[in-house]
Symmetry: C2
Subunit: 113 residues, 2 copies
Amino acid sequence: MHALSDPVRVAIFAEIAGASCPQTCSNFVNIAEKSIPKSTLSQHFKALREAGLIRGERHGVEMRNVSRCPEIDKRFPGLIAAIVKAHKIQQAEEGRASNRRKREAGGRKSRRK
Amino acid sequence: MHALSDPVRVAIFAEIAGASCPQTCSNFVNIAEKSIPKSTLSQHFKALREAGLIRGERHGVEMRNVSRCPEIDKRFPGLIAAIVKAHKIQQAEEGRASNRRKREAGGRKSRRK
DNA sequence: TTCATTAGTTCTGTTTTTATGAACTATTAA
DNA sequence: TTAATAGTTCATAAAAACAGAACTAATGAA
């Protein structure tokens, strides 16, 4: 139903909307903790495109994706900013959580002295 | 994995976080286009509770749910505001879309004169 | 042209998540 | 006790996401 009903797509969209240059599909292979196969990414990009949230332009062998912010912001003023903001904050916390996990995983052996 | 990875839960959480008084499970039966069974809602509330996003307090026969905004905002400053804002904007549009659908559904027979 | 390479797509089966009816628990009130 | 209301748990069905394999598209050699 709606393209932003999946957290991976929200992450992708927030990234594209917040970026200053077009993003390719491959840029997102390592966006999560473990790498996402390109077939999976391609499906997400397709959903975002079909929802009219991003647009893809082929440049040679690669597909550059840009968000359709101007159009979207016209209809839902502030929505993109709100999504990007919420996502950035959550991302920051995920980073901290991830570091914590790494520290604790190490701690099983070395129990910080 | 994370409690806000589902749009229904985001809607519920945004509603609770934005409300000025505790919300019961039953308040959400008609939050979507078609009514959501209470077993489904109960599962979502459980997920939100286990994630520490809301807290339920029993008052007589009903369970009053409040968001844990103060704690959350301390860790993710601005996150709740961002979520609530994004959700409100999307909701407003869904309302417009819904009205449009209703108009057009009527239009199949009566083709506005 | 043909072959190789890179980027992405489509197909298809598997796994994960969500949705939901039915049976159950908890609280209150008659 | 019985009834009524609010919510939970359980089992399973339905829907969505994931991912490997085979495919298409553009480019650049040889």
